[in-house]
């Protein structure tokens, strides 16, 4: 346990990523508000992004840009950053689409609560 904790402290960015991921996942599962679900997804993704970016870091490393002013000898790994650039765009796209769907649902049902929507749909189909 002690060793585990020490290692966790050493790997604190990953720890934070896991915490974010869990919070996000819980939000998606337990909240019925569509917006909150969406926010949960975004939090989850942030957790993963954090994990990637943290993996690329080197303590005391420099930003990976070749520049006269950059005096440090070690550069951090540029690959995870580049990957996460793509990842963020993907996440934004998903968010945009989800928001559009929420708008559409709100227009039809007048609510953004998943349970209420399900209830209303069942009423409609029973009629």
């Amino acid at each position: 346990m002690r060793i585990l904790l020490e290692k966790l402290m050493a790997n604190y960015p990953y720890f934070a990523a896991v915490v974010l991921f869990t919070i996000g996942a819980l939000t998606v599962m337990t909240r019925s508000n569509l917006f909150k679900k969406l926010i949960g997804i975004n939090i989850m993704e942030s957790g993963i992004f954090l994990m990637f970016v943290a993996a690329g870091n080197i303590r005391g490393g420099a930003v990976p840009i070749l520049d006269e002013a950059n005096t440090k000898s070690v550069y951090i790994n540029p690959l995870p950053s580049a990957l996460m650039l793509t990842g963020i765009v993907v996440s934004v796209s998903v968010t945009a689409f989800a928001l559009a769907l929420i708008v559409r649902l709100y227009k039809s049902y007048g609510t953004t609560d998943a349970h209420r929507i399900a209830e209303m749909r069942n009423e409609v189909s029973e009629r």
Binding site: F21, A25, V28, L34, K37, L38, I41, M44, E45, I48, M51, F52, A55, L79, P80, L83, T86, G87, V90, S93, V94, F97, A98, L101, I102, R104, L105, S108, Y109, I117, R121
Partner: protein
């Protein structure tokens, strides 16, 4: 010129639909042109896939490697058209061409105005391109990006139906699918952090060296991948989004979603499991047992759920849940026969299920009826549609002379080779259950009194597309030669690695 095209074919089959997708909105109002372009590019894809398959078959196991941008493997992204890639490309092209043909002139009812139909086609092509990309990619992060393109276009296709229920289904699908792809990305992250590579081959080599020191990491990475792709490919307890999404989507979209999109995710999972983790790790972590177990549960549960549905498209959607179980069961068979069976079953289900969904779509379009009990006597009024539906059903049940039988045959052989007895029984029970939920439809359609209504077979392009799919089912069932060859080679390659 031809040499240049041949050399660039692996990337061409991916780019062509995407390129056409980009230019398509320009002609939004000229439907004829749009449809012509879509069918043209699908046909082109089929020719390209066939040519690639012939090269791969001729080369005897040496894959075609394509380096994007000229960067060698660990630095740039690599495309690899091996037996598996060629096989799946053929499946994609073989299914998406008839579906596109079916969609021709048939979408306005379900989708809406010309602009909306054009947008539908754009999403359709984007999905195609993403699936083709999945077939050939050899890079982990590229898998994630392709999965996202596929997810978004799938959800877009579902919400293309102008109906609030479609939007609701699309939202559930989007949230769960994104949850899945986030898990996949997490799995990729763990792999990258421990191995330092994104290329599947390099990652696999590195993993082979270090996995004994990091068992938990490998375990979590595998489970992330399994759950992530499990959600996307509707493995049983994670299938919640599927019935709504597949039954509310426009019929061509249902066909492509149930037939192909799910298979794309399965191919990705297959690649990651067998090309990255490799069969030694799969056996060391007993993943194959989990897969077989999950497959068995999915077969039984999906079939029973399908039995309880009265709505035609929902029954087919639940049937997909059951059929995906067979593929998961096959994924867990670490031997050539079983993996061959899995791949062949995947292709067989792709063709059969799209035929079923298209036939169901044609029936619903002609009659306006959704539920099975209302379709009495439709076999007399729409003979071709119902004949194709019957062929598809027989294939799913696994009757000899139809494609499903050969898949099941090899799955059973593989199970016996692995010494599994219960899964064999489950496969057979699944077939009987499948008959139990599909044959009542056929019986109602043929042997019940004909309703006195003006139902007719759909138009010529729809008929051609249905017949094409039925012919494909029979050809796969009777003369599967090159297909089986590609599948068994791909299976053998998975087991040679490491």
């Amino acid at each position: 010129m031809t040499a240049a095209i041949t050399a660039n074919l692996p990337v061409f089959v991916v780019i062509a639909p995407l390129f056409v997708a980009f230019v398509l909105p320009t002609f939004a109002r000229r439907m004829r042109l749009v449809e012509g372009l879509v069918i043209f590019v699908e046909a082109l894809g089929l020719v390209g896939a066939g040519y690639l398959a012939s090269i791969v078959l001729a080369q005897k196991g040496i894959p075609i490697i394509y380096r994007l941008g000229g960067w060698p493997a660990p630095w740039g992204i690599e495309l690899e058209v091996g037996s598996l890639g060629a096989f799946f490309l053929l499946v994609i092209a073989g299914v998406s061409l008839p579906v596109a043909l079916f969609a021709r002139g048939n979408l306005t009812k379900e989708v809406g105005s010309k602009e909306r139909v054009t947008r539908f086609y754009v999403l359709y092509l984007l999905l195609n391109g993403a699936l083709a990309g999945m077939a050939v990619t050899n890079d982990l992060f590229n898998v994630f990006v392709l999965v996202e393109v596929a997810t978004l276009s799938c959800c877009g296709l579902v919400s293309a139906r102008n109906h609030p229920r479609a939007a609701e289904a699309a939202f559930t699908y989007l949230i769960l699918a994104t949850l899945g792809s986030t898990l996949v990305l997490g799995g990729i992250g763990f792999l990258y952090i421990t191995t330092g590579h994104l290329n599947m081959g390099f990652s696999s080599q590195e993993l082979g060296r270090i996995w004994q020191d990091n068992p938990h990491v490998v375990w979590v990475a595998i489970s992330f991948m399994l759950v992530g792709f499990g959600v996307k490919s509707a493995l049983f307890p994670l299938h919640l989004w599927l019935p709504d999404a597949h039954s509310t989507a426009p019929s061509p979209a249902s066909a492509i979603l149930s037939g192909l999109a799910i298979k794309g995710y399965l191919i990705c999972l297959l690649k990651i499991l067998y090309n990255v983790f490799g069969h030694t790790l799969i056996q060391a972590f007993a993943v194959h047992r989990i897969l077989v177990l999950a497959g068995m549960v999915a077969i039984i549960a999906g079939s029973i759920l399908a039995l309880t549905q009265d709505e035609l498209k929902r029954r087919l959607a639940f049937s997909t849940v059951a059929q995906v179980g067979y593929i998961y069961l096959g994924l867990g068979l670490v031997n050539t026969k079983g993996l061959t069976g899995m791949l062949f079953y995947l292709a067989s289900h792709a063709v059969s299920k799209s035929a079923l969904f298209l036939a169901a779509g044609a029936m619903i379009a002609a009659t306006g009826k959704q539920s099975i009990s209302e379709l009495a006597g439709i076999g007399r009024k729409m003979p071709i549609t119902m004949a194709v539906f019957t062929v598809g059903s027989l294939s799913l049940v696994g009757i000899p002379l139809f494609s499903g039988f050969i898949g099941k045959w090899y799955l059973i052989l593989g199970n016996l080779e692995a010494g599994n007895i219960i899964p064999v029984a489950v496969i057979i029970i699944g077939s009987v259950l499948c008959a139990a939920y599909l044959f009542p439809i056929i019986r109602t359609a043929y042997f019940e009194p004909v309703a006195d209504e003006d139902w007719q077979d759909p138009g010529l392009p729809q008929k051609i597309s249905l017949i094409l799919l039925a012919v494909a089912i029979v050809i796969l069932g009777v003369l599967p030669g090159p297909f089986l060859e590609l599948a068994s080679r791909a299976a053998a390659e998975f087991l040679v690695l490491q």
